[in-house]
């Protein structure tokens, strides 16, 4: 069992942040630019319907929802950059020879690929929003709203709705109770799928030394095509293996699939960990085997 020392973990995190701060800034700059492009498209749409408050509000909601979706995509795909700090031979030597345990190094990089990326995205979205406000102000349209504020509001509404549903639990087999159970099952399914996708990209980031995001995405596409060709992937068309199902069957199937995704996540993490432990300085150029 790898030893874990919290003080050394903290030192390793500081070391990693100080050594790789430039790449984090580059990623944030790229994300900010991407979001600005997205906002500019909406801005051009809004030019056509000048000062229609309802249309402006709907455009802001669209921008906020797209930003939130971008966050999910960014987090999942960004997981493939977990070992971007070991791209060159010199970087690998520096990181491998750092007097910290493999567990501490892995946890630090995992935190960067999760918490770190989330912070990068938040900073990028705030920066993009501020730049957008300034540009629109300079263009003469004044302050019409904030994407970040709207997006935060949408998230808050969603969380409140979920909590409200939790607070008023419907019991028995009534239609409301089943609907609530179905909502929980769908939520569990979506969360477990996102976690599984994230862990898949973590594995891809560990396995592929170069172009990790591209190769992992291509692998995911190939696997998805294979799955679609081998059979009817559950619920892809609203049915369960080609048959209409009852709500109870659907809930059961969703929970089973969630369990499968959870197990796959564990497997991906274990494989990623084992690959990291045996990483060497001079490897095959494409994969870390």
């Amino acid at each position: 069992m790898e030893n874990l020392n919290t003080k050394r973990l903290w030192l390793t995190a500081k070391w990693d942040a100080t050594t790789n701060w430039k790449s984090s800034v580059r990623i944030m700059a790229g994300m900010t630019f991407g979001l600005l492009i997205l906002y500019t498209v909406h801005f051009l749409n809004m030019l056509n319907v000048m000062y229609s408050p309802d249309y402006i509000t709907s455009q802001y909601r669209s921008m906020a929802i797209e930003t939130n979706i971008s966050f999910i995509v960014f987090m999942v795909a960004g997981a493939s950059l977990i070992f971007a700090n070991m791209r060159t031979k010199q970087q690998r030597i520096a990181f491998c020879m750092l007097p910290a345990s493999n567990a501490e190094k892995y946890i630090v990089r995992w935190l960067w690929a999760t918490v770190g990326f989330a912070l990068i995205f938040i900073c990028a979205s705030v920066a993009a929003d501020l730049i957008r406000i300034v540009i629109w102000w300079i263009a003469g349209y004044g302050y019409t709203g904030s994407v970040v504020a709207t997006g935060t509001g949408i998230l808050y509404e969603s969380v409140c709705n979920v909590l409200a549903n939790c607070g008023t639990a419907h019991t028995g087999d009534s239609i409301h109770a089943l609907k609530q159970k179905e909502n929980y099952a769908i939520m569990t399914y979506c969360i477990s799928f996102c976690v599984m996708a994230h862990s898949f990209y973590i594995l891809g980031g560990t396995l592929f030394r170069r172009n990790a995001w591209l190769l992992t995405t291509l692998t995911a596409i190939v696997l998805a095509i294979i799955l679609l060709h081998t059979g009817n992937f559950p619920f892809i068309d609203g049915t369960l293996f080609g048959r209409r199902c009852s709500i109870e069957q659907k809930i059961m199937a969703l929970y089973i699939l969630s369990g499968i995704f959870a197990m796959l996540s564990v497997v991906f993490y274990i494989v990623s960990w084992k690959l990291f432990r045996r990483m060497q300085v001079i490897n095959d150029r494409t994969i870390n085997l």
Binding site: R8, R92, I93, A94, M97, L98, P99, E104, Q280
Partner: protein, 291 residues
């Protein structure tokens, strides 16, 4: 202290797989096969060998950056490939090429020094002064040679028991090479082991006290400088005198013939000529260790 036991190692690439094997370039030949060696404390080892004989590879295997396919490398009984923090804090490698982050030296020290319990700021400052570098600087603005001096100063200041250096004098100007020798000599202790892999034998021969010459699968020479100089003399002789019975090897030089001869006990010891010794050991018609 460092035990290398029957290691076998080769670089495996996709081209080494049977269905992808190329008829021309063969990847996957053994760099080391049943290779064994021991490194003791308190010595400065010179690791010499022709191009491609595996000097850098051996350093990486010793430090755990590469794992041999067979055999073990242990430091104080612990396998280095496990890369345990207790072992890593007693080991430092100065590779031929390295990156320094674009931060100040103070920040770099604050980042890295806590990982090495024996780190000494005094030693770092002394080394920087010997290298004629300022005690405070921005690492991103240094030249390659200056970065090398800073990195080596930190390596020596880390106080690790094992220090591995791969071509440390590459990129250093002429005065810096003598500074390097002085700095390393000043930082040597009885419990420290330094292994210097280099082609620039003249830069380091005054520093070394043990010579290792390797050639792929075997150790051609593993002897202390004291033993070599007590048994052999390195002289310049005139062309006729080079054919004496005591001469083991001779090669022409500007002053006459540079020879390695068996030393007469009555005669004083001569300084080691490492380049001549290297040429002798690596002659194609003589792969045996000198007696």
């Amino acid at each position: 202290m460092i035990e290398i036991n029957n290691i076998s190692f080769k670089y495996v690439s996709l081209r080494g797989l049977p269905f992808l094997k190329s008829d021309t370039a063969r990847h996957g030949d053994n760099i080391f096969e049943n290779f064994s060696m021991t490194l003791n404390e308190g010595c400065v080892y010179g690791l010499l060998g022709k191009n491609g004989t595996g000097k850098s590879t051996l350093l990486y295997i010793i430090s755990g950056l590469l794992s041999p396919q067979h055999g073990t490398v242990k430091m104080d009984g612990v396998e280095t490939r496990l890369r345990r923090p207790e072992m890593l804090r007693e080991m430092f490698i100065v590779p031929e090429e390295f990156d320094l982050p674009p931060v100040s030296l103070d920040t770099y020290v604050k980042m890295n020094a806590p990982f090495y319990p024996n780190f000494s700021r005094d030693v770092l400052d002394t080394c920087l002064r010997d290298f004629e570098l300022p005690l405070s600087m921005q690492l991103g603005k240094l030249s390659m040679g200056q970065k090398k001096k800073v990195y080596m100063s930190f390596a020596l200041a880390a106080g690790t028991r094992l220090l591995l250096m791969d071509e440390p004098t590459n990129g250093l100007d002429i005065p810096s090479k003598s500074q390097f020798r002085r700095v390393v000599a000043n930082c040597m202790t009885d419990s420290r082991t330094v292994v210097i892999s280099t082609h620039q034998v003249h830069d380091v021969e005054q520093l070394l006290d043990h010579i290792l010459m390797i050639n792929r699968r075997e150790v051609l020479l593993n002897a202390s400088v004291a033993d070599i100089c007590s048994q052999y003399s390195f002289e310049i002789r005139q062309p006729g005198a080079a054919d004496s019975d005591d001469v083991l090897y001779a090669e022409p030089s500007l002053q006459g013939n540079s020879v390695i001869a068996r030393r007469n006990e009555a005669s004083p010891e001569t300084p080691l000529n490492l380049e001549l010794l290297f040429n002798y050991v690596n002659r194609t018609d003589n792969n045996q260790e000198p007696e």
